[in-house]
Symmetry: C3
Subunit: 257 residues, 3 copies
């Protein structure tokens, strides 16, 4: 099922998962209301403790008390924009790592412009799909363009799709795990970015954190998808599988090159 | 189980569903936060691609890039009101069909007044329940009052309940599909209106689109309800069944007179 | 499994549940967007009719037409703050009982200050966890500190955790029902407070209402948890079990001292 070369990624994911379960890091999520409930349950299942307020008045207090910050642009209202700006400032001051999910930047110009601005504020990881990548990077996704975008943005880039690619300027991982149902329900990508944020709370190397988070998501989704009669059941089963996920399951199922 | 007279409705639903799956239309949803996640998953299961932003600054861009617009009044805050007005203007300019779900207009006068105003802006379909109908039409629901309301509003009227009625000034369909659990969970009606919006993206006749969307919902809900131990399971099973829904299942299960 | 002394609590819960199912009270919920969908489905499963708008302009109309009000601080944005103030004023004027869920007051000072202010406006019940209790009561949770806090706030206090404690100045109940998965998914506590609000709509004694609501939640969660392969499945199963909950099941499973 997987070659010896896969073992490092499975190992990375297993080590990070063990730390998540031991330390139970707090992850503050500024995310869209479509994804909030599923994201919270996926974080809890992985061992993290989510908080979700988007009120500008209190987001700094929540970020300061958190171990990582998720910034998801899936709802781009005035309140969330303000909360994001405050949250990122606080994260930078307090040394809290943050990740960016630039949802649908390909659909609205103002959102893409905002994404470009906050990318200058050092997200550790940017997780996006192919259309969003094209919108931000100005080129088709591929190993070279990913590495270039990672270098330009000083961030690890996690491009998800049938195969996930995780790149920094030097390293690349291809994650082959997953299931077609994962693209048939909303918020799976959003939850994946949240998992990467959780991993960043316990793993300083952002490339390893991104690999760990996306491997966990891919393996949990693959196992849940194989058992699910349809995509509705996947949304429940993936939480169950994430909660039960352990080193052995990761070692057995991870397919990364 | 069903008479020959049913076949047209089943045929309509099957034809529209086939086009949904082939064309994967984009449906922009201005809807309440209670219903967003379930609505998105039902649209994805039927073959459509949902977007959900309610930010007034970007709603025009999303509507312009969409094939249909859903306007749901279940949350009636200042931001959504503004987004709805912008969204409808854009839809009218761009020729994007839109549908109205006047949630709980029977509970707050300002909401009913707002609904009456936007009904002058040519929704293709209005989907509501009996209490909402009484509030807007000023008369008890029945074949004559539905046809009159359809004529007055220049919209198809879809009244849902134990039996669904879909009327324009000339035609009426009675959809007998469904399951009691569908009234025991939130957002099923909201998702039904979203399905009608998706159908409008691939079917110009709004009466056929409304029949198609509500038949799909009723058949999926009926099959899922019969398998579900309770209404919680229905919310998952209905997504699974909608994803697997096909012509044969529709032909076999549709009960419309 | 349970002693004769437990029967009163099971009886209370069974009596209140029967009234919920007969009267189907309306419960208006000003709650966070993470919890809205699950809360609505749990209320529907118990027999209540939820509404969820947080628009300041119409919250008074919804509260005036409701039998109980839930105030949950899990999202503490300007709009919800205004809606809460209007909603509580209306509830006091109309004699609509209201309950408070001071989510995460231990994480942000302004939220705790706001909670302290609205506690002066006579919530019938305050439902919280240990960290939230410490933040508001200024002392560790225990029988004496709960009774003191209940006396000071003139409210029944429902402290939830592995064991739930329900106290007013004179009475205390220890609810031993529940399942570890209930702490592994979001919004279970929020839904519990909503159930207490529903119970208050049909039971004037707030201590009995709080016992009834938390017993229903604990028993439903325990039965669902024992059947669930993981916490994801719990979120669905608990709605199914709540919908099927009856006197016999409550009498058989309630463990209260």
């Amino acid at each position: 099922m997987h070659a010896a070369a896969d073992e490092p990624a499975a190992q990375i994911a297993a080590d990070v998962l063990a730390r998540l379960r031991e330390r139970r890091p707090r992850v503050h999520c500024i995310t869209n209301s479509v994804a909030q409930n599923f994201t919270a349950n996926m974080l809890l299942a992985a061992g993290a403790t989510p908080s979700m307020t988007v009120a500008p008045e209190e987001v700094a207090a929540f970020v300061a008390g958190s171990d990582a910050l998720l910034v998801n642009l899936g709802m781009f209202d005035a309140e969330r924009r303000e909360a994001i700006e405050i949250g990122i400032e606080e994260a930078m001051e307090e040394g809290v790592p943050w990740v960016l999910d630039p949802v649908y930047v390909d659909r609205a110009r103002a959102r893409a412009a905002f994404a470009r601005t906050i990318i200058t504020k050092y997200p550790r990881v940017i997780r996006l799909n192919a259309a969003e990548f094209v919108s931000l990077a100005g080129s088709a996704p591929g190993v070279d363009s990913l590495k270039r975008f990672a270098l330009d943005s000083l961030a690890v880039v996690g491009l998800t799709g049938a195969t996930d690619l995780v790149a920094d300027a030097a390293r690349i991982a291809r994650i082959e795990n997953g299931h077609p149902f994962m693209a048939k329900v909303t918020a799976v990508g959003c939850a994946g970015t949240a998992l990467v944020a959780a991993c960043l709370a316990v793993e300083h190397d952002p490339w390893r954190a991104a690999v760990a988070g996306l491997v966990m998501l891919g393996v949990a989704g693959e196992i849940a998808g194989e058992r699910a009669p349809g995509p509705g059941s996947l949304t429940i089963g993936i939480v169950d599988v994430m909660h039960a996920l352990d080193r052995d399951t990761l070692i057995k199922h991870t397919r990364v090159t």
